[in-house]
Amino acid sequence: MPFDIYLNVAVGGVLTGLVYGLMALGLSVIFGVVRVVNFAHGEMMTIAMYIAVTLFAAFHLDPLLMLVPIAAVLFAFGYVLQKAVINRFITRPEYSQFLLLVAMAIIIVNGLLIVFGPDAHNVQTTYAYDSFQIGPLIVDATKAYAGLAAIVVAAALFGFFQYTRLGTAIRACADNYTGALVVGLDVKHLYALTFGLGAACVGAAGCMLLLIFDVTPAVGPGYTLLAFIIVITGGLGSMPGALLGGVLIGLTEAMAGLLFTPSAKSMFAFAILVLVLLFRPQGIMGKRAA
């Protein structure tokens, strides 16, 4: 195979990986602040994907244009979920929180199955088969737009946490729970906001991913697992780590699909997880042991 095929596949993998990274960023933000492992993460993304599919089928609205409203819907979903249910579980044992979200995940997957059926859905945008040629490189338009959108959303999130008062307050909750209570922060409200932000991230990622992949109700658990693998690989609680992990996994999957067989690509993501746990348990950009 000529070299430029590898290069093309690698660029495609990196762009898809950026979207994976945004998805994992949502998980990382929720875990970093609320300390709850969102086991329904990929399932929440499929909700966003089905909203986008329905809007496209009914009104021909482009998923990328619907990104902001759909992220807002997911934000509201996450906020209410945290406020109404998960906040009561904050002091419960870890496995109890985990199982709560497993239950949510099962209900979402099969609820979607009942409503939309088991068939795959996708969107056929006008630019679905366009591509850009840069020297020897051919980049799919859908992947380029999706990757760029992922960078924009991730940058907005970085900016929010770094430069706004609200973002600083949320970081304070993450750093010192008791301290945040002492200075008078409404921690439960901030937790709900954070869960909403994480949900919005994954909602936005869902809109982008829909340009690249089909959606079925059954894909949710796979994406949840992928998000976990990315977060653990990149390093817990590290926002750049989540993006980097996403790119690494995206690249690995793309190369595995090219060199072996696409259906075996997820095995390589699992292999990376095992290698990371063996040799660098704190993740690539993590500071302390998991």
């Binding site: 492992v37 249910v85 009561r88 419960r92 870890e94 496995y95 109890s96 985990f98 199982l99 709560l100 497993v102 239950a103 949510m104 995940a105 099962i106 209900i107 997957v109 099969n110 609820g111 979607l112 199955l113 009942i114 088991p118 109700p217 658990p221 796979g222 697992l225 976990f228 693998i229 653990i232 067989t261 259906s263 075996a264 997820s266 095995m267 699992f270 292999a271 997880l273 095992v274 746990l277 063996l278 348990p281 042991a289 998991a290």
Partner: protein
């Protein structure tokens, strides 16, 4: 030995256990084929739930990948039977070490590097998923097109080759469930059992008390994996077909853990009660939907999800601790 096992149990509990056992033994005489299949399913989940409970309920290690051990057991025994004509009981001699080794691999990776709690759970899922995709591409077990055991009309029951009437399978899984219950009771009363409980309650404290936590967590995962693989062998010979997509799927792992969680994590009777409640209710739901002519493929799972949600919110310790208090039975080990 037996006196030691029943010591401390209230008389009422013993009578209740005896009645339940007798009822289960005579059940095939009165139950039709459908009911018998449901009972087999219930006992199957009671057995695996007991095995899973060793890890989570006793040693406090949350495994969400027990489908891995079921699948390894099922595939090992089935492949040996299909390819070499080796019967299930000999196959079990291979299946148990294979599953135990897989458990030891996960345990080694996790416990050596202090991967605990939710991360341990993720690792167990990841290895099970790895196996699912791997078996999809493994030609020796015919990959994703599935492995089939030859089905013939058997005039008589062949216990040695596990071929025959459902009633035979029923007694096999009933015996396994009873042995699992007795075995778990014995384990809980042993030195290892107390070490596990100490680790579950406070691992740091257990370590400072001189317990080799790595060693005892490994013991838990190996015993649990080995026990679970028998359920896999049973599954293969009862259903006669295996697909990686089905046996290794995360949903299978979740089905396994629902029984003990609903029944009561860490209790001996919880997995049994949970299996009866969940499988019984799910079958009732399925037949009601079928009678109404409604075909909703995800309905059973939504029902499972809601059950899990309700139990976790309302009865975080499970149904059995609540029920046993109500009917005046208290388990000594709880």
């Amino acid at each position: 030995m037996i006196a030691g096992l029943i010591e401390g149990l209230p008389r009422r509990a013993l009578i209740l256990l005896g009645v339940l056992l007798v009822a289960l033994i005579v059940a095939p005489l009165v139950a039709g084929d459908y009911l018998l299949t449901v009972l087999i399913l219930i006992l199957y989940f009671a057995y695996i739930g007991q095995a899973w409970n060793i890890m989570m309920g006793f040693a406090g290690q949350l495994s969400l990948g027990h489908a891995l051990y079921v699948g390894l057991g099922a595939y090992t025994a089935a492949a040996l039977y299909v390819n070499f004509g080796i019967g299930p009981w000999l196959g079990l001699m291979v299946a148990v070490p294979v599953a135990a080794l897989a458990g030891a691999f996960i345990g080694f990776l996790a416990f050596r590097f202090r991967v605990a709690g939710v991360y341990f759970a993720i690792l167990t899922i990841a290895v099970a998923e790895f196996a699912r995709v791997g078996f999809d591409h493994l030609a020796w077990t015919s990959g994703s097109s599935g492995l089939f055991l030859p089905v013939r009309q058997y005039a008589h029951n062949d216990l040695w080759l596990l071929r025959g009437h459902p009633a035979m399978f029923y007694y096999v899984i009933l015996a396994a469930s009873v042995l699992a219950l007795i075995g778990c009771r014995a384990l809980l009363q042993s030195r290892v059992g107390y070490f596990w409980l100490a680790i579950r309650e406070d691992e740091e404290a257990a370590r400072s008390a001189g317990i080799d936590t790595f060693h005892y967590k490994m013991v838990a995962v190996v015993i649990s994996a080995g026990m679970t693989s028998f359920a896999g062998v049973f599954y293969a010979f009862f259903y006669n077909n295996l697909f990686p997509e089905q046996v290794f799927h995360v949903l299978r792992s979740i089905e396994i853990i629902l029984g003990p969680i609903v029944g009561g994590i860490g209790t001996l009777f919880g997995p049994i009660l949970g299996a009866f409640l969940l499988t019984g209710l799910a079958e009732m739901l399925t037949s009601t939907l079928a009678a109404l002519g409604v075909d909703l493929p995800g309905a059973k799972q939504v029902f499972y999800g809601i059950c899990l949600l309700l139990v976790i919110t309302a009865l975080p310790d499970g149904v059995w601790p609540w029920l046993s208090k109500r009917i005046g039975l208290t388990e000594r080990n709880k």
